[in-house]
Symmetry: C2
Subunit: 210 residues, 2 copies
Amino acid sequence: MSALQMPRPEHVKPVELAQAYRLMNHGPTVLVSSSHGGRHNLMAAAWSMPLDFTPAKVCVVIDKATLTRKLVEASGEFTLAVPTRGFAAQTLAVGRTSATDLAEGMDKFSQYQLSWFAGAQAAPLPQACTAWLECSVIPEPHNQQAYDLFIGEVKHAWADERVFSTGHWHPPQDLPQHLQSIHYIAGGSFFAATESFSTEPQAPCISPVL
Amino acid sequence: MSALQMPRPEHVKPVELAQAYRLMNHGPTVLVSSSHGGRHNLMAAAWSMPLDFTPAKVCVVIDKATLTRKLVEASGEFTLAVPTRGFAAQTLAVGRTSATDLAEGMDKFSQYQLSWFAGAQAAPLPQACTAWLECSVIPEPHNQQAYDLFIGEVKHAWADERVFSTGHWHPPQDLPQHLQSIHYIAGGSFFAATESFSTEPQAPCISPVL
C-alpha cells in the first residue's frame, strides 16, 4: 500500500446514483483521477458537467497531451472529485503541472504528496474533496478526437456527509470556510460558493431592469 | 418591435471571443434563448459548459420535448445567458415551465414579461443577466440524439462591464448582491458565488487531511 493511501474516512458515504448529478450540478471545479497498470494520476479539469440523471452520466474535457488521457483511454475509467476551498492551492498546482513533465515514474499524487483512499474502482480518491464520482467511459471516438470530450456513466458515487447528505448540500454558510466548493475563473482566481438560498418561481412577473 | 424589447443597455459591451470561455468557466446556471420564424423562447439549462478556447465553443443539454429544441434545430443557433441573483426567481420560473404547455403562440418571454434586447443573431438577449454567448450549432446528430447534447461555436459574446471587463470578473464582494452569479443545486435552491479569492499553486506540498 502506498504511503499516501489512507483508509476511507468515516465521513465519506455512498451516494445513490440517481442523486449523483447533484454532486456537480452547481458547476464546481473538478479533479480527474485515473489509474492503469499500477500508475495513478490527477489533473484539474477545466470543463465538466453532468449529462444525465439516470443512468447517471457526466462529461469532461481531457486534453490529448496528458498522462491522464492515456490512463483513461487504457483503463476505460475515470473518477471526478470535487475539491474544497481548503484544497484550492493544491488544485491549482495539480492544474498547472503536467505529469508528462515529471520524472520517470512520478505522478502528481506522489509529486505533491497528495493523500488518497480507495473507492470501488482503481483510480485513487483524493483527500480534501467533498464528492467523488467513479465513472466508466462510454466510448465515443469522434467526440474524444474532435473535442477531447469524454462521456462516462457514473458507477459509484460518494460524498462527505458533513457537507452533502440525503441528496442535498448543506448550506455553506453553516460550514467551515475550507469546506466550501470552488469555481475556477482564470489566472489563479476562484469564485467560492459561500452561501445557498432558496426562491420560489416568480410567475407571471415583470423582470427587473438592472 | 415587441413591447418587451429594449435598446441594448449601455453597460453591455462586446467580449473578445478568445475570452468568451471565461463567461461560463465558473459553472453558473445558464439560460438558453432561441428564435426561429419570428418565434422566441427561453429555457433554463441544467447543464452547460465551455468546450474550447479558440475557436470558442460551448456545449449544452437541450431536452427533446421542448420548444427550444425545435427552434435551435430549425435556426441552427442558440444564445446562452448568465442570469444574476436578482433574476433567480424568474430563472426558476423559466426552468420549471415548458413553453409547450403555454397557449398557442405564447412563449416564455411573453408569458413572464421578460424584457430583452437584440444581439447580433436572432435570439433575444434577456435582461438581468451579466453575460451572453451567441452561438452557431456545430451539427453532431449522434450527440444530439443520444445525449441531447448540443455543441456550438461562439460567434458573438457580450458582458455587463459593471461585472466583467478586460477579460475578468469583478470581485463579487464588491458588487451589489443582485449581480452575483448563481449555481443551481436542486429543488429551488441555488449556491451564490459571493466572493472571489486568489491563490498560488502550492507545490510541493502535503495535502491537508480534512
